[in-house]
C-alpha cells in the first residue's frame, strides 16, 4: 500500500489509483479486525445493528463486500439486519417514521440479507429473561477456530452462504397507547443525560431479545473510533469506570449467550465519511434525543463537543483516548452465573457497589447521612430525633428524587415515606453505581416496563430468602 498522507487524500480524491488504495486499506481494516479477534465462527448467524447513520451503514457495506463472491478470503457468517425505530420516543409522527423506514427498507432489500424492523415500543412487551444473563457458550480452546474454519471449507465451500430465510415484513403497526407509554417512560427522566441512558438501555434490551429469538449468536455494533473515544470519557463521567472495557472494547459478553462486537472501532468518523462519500454508501439521517439541543444539555453532548474541540488543537486526542481504552479490562469478581444478584438489573454488568473502606461510593453514603436528620448532631439539641434510619442511599435517594432535589423533610419515619403503597422495591440495591444515578434522575419508577419491575421483585424476594437462611449456607454464595 502506498504511504500517502490523509491530507494528500483530500487533494487527490479523484485519482483512481488513490481510490483503489484507500478502498483496499479500508476493507482490509475490517477484515483484520474480525480475523485478529477470531470471535465469529464460520457459519454463525450475526445480527447487524444498523441505526441508519454513516458508521453502521458503512459496516453494512463492509459485510456485503466481505461476503461477495469475488472477495479475497471471504467472510463466512450469515448476517441479518435489525433496525430499531425510536421515533416514538423522540416524538416523531407516524408519517415521519414510515418515511424513514421506507428509505431504509430500500437499502436493506438491496443487500439481500434478512432484515428486521422493530418499533422501540416493543420493548414494553419483553419477557424478564432479557435482563438475566444467560449461560455463556462453552469455552473454546484457541485451536477450535482454525479447526472450525477448515471444517467449514471442506463441507460448504463458498456456495453455502445464500440467505435461507425470506425477508421480514416492515414496521408492524404500533398502537398509539404503546407510544404514549413509551413517551411517559422517557419523560419520567428529568435530565437529558438520564433520558439518553434510559433509551440506550431499552434499545440494548430489544437488540439482545431480537438476537435471541431470531437465533443470532453475535451482535455487531457500528461504533467508530471517534464515537468510542467520546463514549469512554462519557462513561467515566457517568461513574462507569468498572464497565469501561465492556462499554468500549471490541467484544462485550455481558449478556452471556449473545456477544456484541464492534468491528468499526478502528475507523475514525472522518475516514468513514470519506469512504461513504467516495463509494456512495447510502445512509439515512435520523434525528435523536439530542438533535437541536445545546451542547451542554447532556453529558454525552458536552463530551462530544469537548473532544471535537480538543482534537483540533491536539490532533492525537482521539487516538490517544482510544488506545487508553484498549488497555482496560473488566474485573471478574464472580464467575458464577447461577445467582444473578451480582449483576446490574439494567445494564447487566457486574455490580460495583460493594461499600469498600475509603471509597468514593462510601463517601457519597456518608454525605447523605451527615446532611440529614438522624445521626449524632453537633451538640445542638434535636427536637425530632426520629428512629435510626439505615444510611442507605436508596431510601434517601428516593425521597429526594420524588420531591425534585429537596429532601422531603418529613423523612424521619423511615421506610415507606414517599414511595408508593405497593410492595416497596429497593430498586437501587439491584443497580450499579451509574444506573442508580439514572434512576435518581427519574421522577417516578412506576413507568418502568413490567419486565424490569417483575425481575426486580423476583431478585428482591430471593435476596430476602437468602437473608433468612444466611446462617445455614456453607459456601460464600454471592
Amino acid at each position: 500500500m502506498c504511504q500517502v498522507d490523509e491530507e494528500y487524500h483530500d487533494q487527490l480524491e479523484r485519482t483512481d489509483v488513490l481510490r483503489g488504495c484507500f478502498k483496499e486499506y479500508f476493507i482490509h481494516k475490517f477484515r483484520a479486525m474480525l480475523g485478529k479477534n477470531r470471535i465469529i465462527f464460520p457459519g454463525e448467524k450475526v445480527l447487524l445493528a444498523v441505526s441508519g447513520g454513516p458508521s453502521s451503514c458503512s459496516m453494512l457495506s463492509q459485510v456485503q463486500e466481505g461476503l461477495s463472491q469475488k472477495a479475497h478470503k471471504k467472510l463466512r457468517f450469515f448476517p441479518g439486519i435489525v433496525y430499531i425505530d425510536e421515533g416514538g420516543a423522540i416524538g416523531q409522527s407516524t408519517e415521519e417514521r414510515q418515511r424513514t423506514v421506507s428509505e431504509l427498507e430500500v437499502v436493506f432489500k438491496a443487500t439481500g440479507f434478512p432484515f428486521h424492523i422493530l418499533p422501540l415500543e416493543q420493548v414494553l412487551d419483553l419477557p424478564s429473561s432479557v435482563v438475566v444473563m444467560a449461560l455463556p457458550p462453552l469455552e473454546q480452546p484457541p485451536s477450535a477456530y482454525k479447526a472450525a474454519v477448515d471444517r467449514f471449507n471442506q463441507t460448504c465451500g463458498s456456495d453455502c452462504l445464500t440467505p435461507p430465510e425470506k425477508q421480514k415484513k416492515s414496521l408492524p403497526d404500533v398502537h398509539e397507547s404503546h407510544t404514549q407509554l413509551l413517551q411517559q417512560l422517557i419523560g419520567s427522566a428529568k435530565t437529558l443525560t438520564a433520558r439518553e441512558d434510559l433509551l440506550n438501555t431499552l434499545r440494548q434490551h430489544l437488540l439482545v431479545y431480537t438476537a435471541r429469538t431470531e437465533g443470532y449468536s453475535k451482535l455487531m455494533l457500528g461504533d467508530n473510533c471517534t464515537r468510542l473515544a467520546i463514549k469512554l470519557l462519557t462513561s467515566i463521567s457517568l461513574g462507569r469506570g468498572a464497565q469501561l472495557a465492556q462499554d468500549t472494547g471490541f467484544s462485550d459478553s455481558r449478556y452471556g449467550d449473545i456477544i456484541a462486537v464492534r468491528p468499526m472501532r478502528d475507523y475514525s468518523a472522518k475516514e468513514i465519511a470519506h469512504y461513504n462519500h467516495m463509494f456512495d454508501v447510502p445512509s439515512v439521517l435520523i434525528p435523536s434525543l439530542e438533535t437541536k439541543t445545546s451542547e451542554k444539555a447532556s453529558i454525552r453532548g458536552l463530551t462530544e463537543s469537548f473532544v471535537t474541540k480538543l482534537q483540533t488543537d491536539f490532533p492525537s486526542t482521539v487516538s490517544t483516548i482510544y488506545r487508553t481504552s484498549e488497555k482496560l479490562q473488566t474485573v471478574c469478581r464472580s464467575s458464577s452465573t447461577d445467582d444473578h444478584s451480582d449483576r446490574c438489573l439494567l445494564c447487566l454488568c457486574v455490580l460495583d457497589t460493594a461499600v469498600e473502606k475509603a471509597s468514593a461510593f462510601q463517601a457519597t453514603l456518608i454525605s447523605e447521612q451527615v446532611s440529614q436528620t438522624l445521626s449524632l448532631g453537633p451538640g445542638i439539641p434535636r427536637q425530632n430525633s426520629g428512629p435510626e434510619r439505615p444510611a442507605s442511599a436508596a431510601s434517601a435517594g428516593q425521597c429526594r428524587s420524588l420531591s425534585g432535589g429537596e429532601d422531603c423533610g418529613r423523612a424521619t419515619s423511615g421506610g415507606s415515606c414517599c414511595s408508593s403503597a405497593k410492595e416497596t422495591i429497593n430498586l437501587k440495591s439491584l443497580l450499579c453505581y451509574s444506573c442508580r444515578l439514572t434512576i435518581r434522575d427519574m421522577s417516578s419508577v412506576d413507568h418502568l416496563p413490567l419486565y424490569i419491575m417483575s425481575e426486580a421483585q423476583r431478585r428482591q424476594r430471593r435476596s430476602q430468602m437468602r437473608d433468612e437462611i444466611s446462617e445455614f449456607l456453607l459456601n460464600d454464595e454471592v
Binding site: G241, T373, G377
Partner: protein, 343 residues
C-alpha cells in the same frame, strides 16, 4: 418561603450544599464537612497516634482549610498527632510572596511550627528564571516536579512521618480526566489512591484528607468560617493542558453536580489489562530519589536548565539519560532539538 435546615430542622438554612443539594444551616454544614473529612481519615487509616504530620501549606484555600480542619479534628477526636506546616517558595514574584504571607499568618493563628523551602536554595533556580528559559508552555512540568521533591526535602528537614496535601475532589477528578486524555495508563491507575506508599529513600508518605471534598464546599467552609486565604491564579498557569480538563469538569458539574465524585468512583474502579507495560520503581543514580528511570525527572530537568537545553525532560529522551550520567557530550543534532522553544 425560607427552607429549614435538613439536618437539625431547627434553624433556617443559609446555604445549599453543592455536593448533595441539601439545605443546611451554618453549624450543620460545618459539622457535615468536618465529619466527612474525619470519616475519610478514619476509613482510610491515614494516621497513627503519635505521628508528626506536615501539612503542605501554600496559602491557598485548600491548604488553609486543611490546616484548620486538621487542627480541629486532631483536638476533637484526639488523633494524637503533632502538626506542622511546610511551605514551598517557587520564586514567582507577585504570586508566591503574597501567598507566603498568608501561610505565616496561618502559622500564628494555629500556633503551628512552619518551615519554608525554596527552589532557589534547593535547585539554584526560581520559577521566574525557569520561565525565561523554558517559555510558557511546559513550565508547569518543571514547577510540579520540583515542588514534589521540595516538599519531601522540607519534610525530611522537619523530620515528619507523613505529609498531607490539600488536594480536593475536583483536583482528583481533573487528574483522572487528564490521564485519560494523555493516555498515561500508569498514572491513571495510581492517581485515585488516597495515600502514597512509603518505600523509597528520602520519600515521605503523603495523603489527601480532602480527597472527597468539593472545591466549592471548601470555599463555602472558608467563607462561613471567615478563614482568610490568598486566591489568585498562578500567573504562569493559563496555558496549562490541565486547564482543558478543568473547564470540562466545571461544565460537567453544572449538568450533574455528582459528576465529580462519579469520576473518582470510575477512577477507583477501572482495571488495567494484564500484560500492559508499567513502570517499575527504582532510584535515581545521581541523587538517590525515587525514580522509574536511571535519572529522576528532577535531575533531568535541572540538567536541561543548567546546560541551556530547555526541552530536555519534556518528551521522551530515555536514551539520553545514560549519556548525561556518563557526562558524554550530546551530538549537535540532539542539542538542536533540545534547544528549540516556542514561547
Amino acid at each position: 418561603m425560607p427552607a429549614q435546615c435538613s439536618s437539625c430542622t431547627d434553624k433556617r438554612a443559609v446555604l445549599k450544599r453543592p455536593k448533595t443539594g441539601h439545605s443546611l444551616c451554618k453549624e450543620c454544614f460545618f459539622w457535615a464537612f468536618e465529619e466527612e473529612v474525619h470519616q475519610t481519615i478514619v476509613a482510610a487509616e491515614l494516621f497513627k497516634s503519635g505521628e508528626s504530620v506536615g501539612i503542605a501549606a501554600s496559602g491557598g484555600k485548600d491548604s488553609t482549610v486543611l490546616a484548620h480542619v486538621m487542627k480541629l479534628l486532631n483536638e476533637r477526636y484526639n488523633y494524637g498527632l503533632e502538626l506542622m506546616l511546610i511551605s514551598v517558595d517557587e520564586g514567582i514574584t507577585g504570586y508566591r510572596d503574597d501567598s507566603l504571607e498568608t501561610v505565616k499568618r496561618n502559622q500564628q493563628q494555629y500556633e503551628l511550627p512552619l518551615k519554608i523551602v525554596s527552589y532557589e536554595e534547593l535547585y539554584g533556580w526560581t520559577m521566574d528564571a525557569i520561565v525565561k528559559q523554558v517559555g510558557l508552555k511546559n513550565n508547569c512540568t518543571f514547577c510540579g516536579v520540583f515542588r514534589r521533591q521540595a516538599l519531601d526535602r522540607g519534610a525530611v528537614m522537619l523530620k515528619v512521618d507523613k505529609i498531607c496535601t490539600g488536594h480536593n475532589a475536583d483536583d482528583v477528578a481533573e487528574t483522572v480526566l487528564m490521564n485519560v486524555l494523555r493516555g498515561d495508563i500508569a498514572r491513571l491507575r495510581r492517581c485515585t489512591a488516597i495515600s502514597t506508599s512509603s518505600e523509597g529513600e528520602g520519600v515521605v508518605p503523603r495523603c489527601k484528607p480532602l480527597k472527597y471534598a468539593y472545591e466549592k464546599e471548601i470555599v463555602l467552609y472558608a467563607y462561613f468560617k471567615k478563614l482568610d486565604y490568598f486566591s489568585t491564579e498562578c500567573i504562569y498557569s493559563p496555558n496549562a493542558y490541565r486547564g482543558y480538563a478543568r473547564t470540562f469538569l466545571k461544565d460537567l458539574e453544572s449538568i450533574r453536580p455528582s459528576t465529580i465524585i462519579d469520576i473518582i468512583h470510575s477512577g477507583e474502579n477501572l482495571s488495567v489489562r494484564e500484560g500492559v507495560k508499567m513502570p517499575v520503581q527504582g532510584t535515581c543514580s545521581r541523587c538517590g530519589y525515587i525514580s522509574s528511570q536511571a535519572l529522576c525527572k528532577s535531575c533531568v530537568l535541572l540538567e536541561g536548565l543548567n546546560r541551556g537545553l530547555p526541552k530536555l525532560g519534556i518528551g521522551k529522551h530515555h536514551r539520553l539519560h545514560d549519556k548525561i550520567l556518563s557526562q558524554q557530550p550530546l551530538t549537535e543534532k540532539e542539542e538542536r532539538k533540545l534547544k528549540s522553544v516556542d514561547f
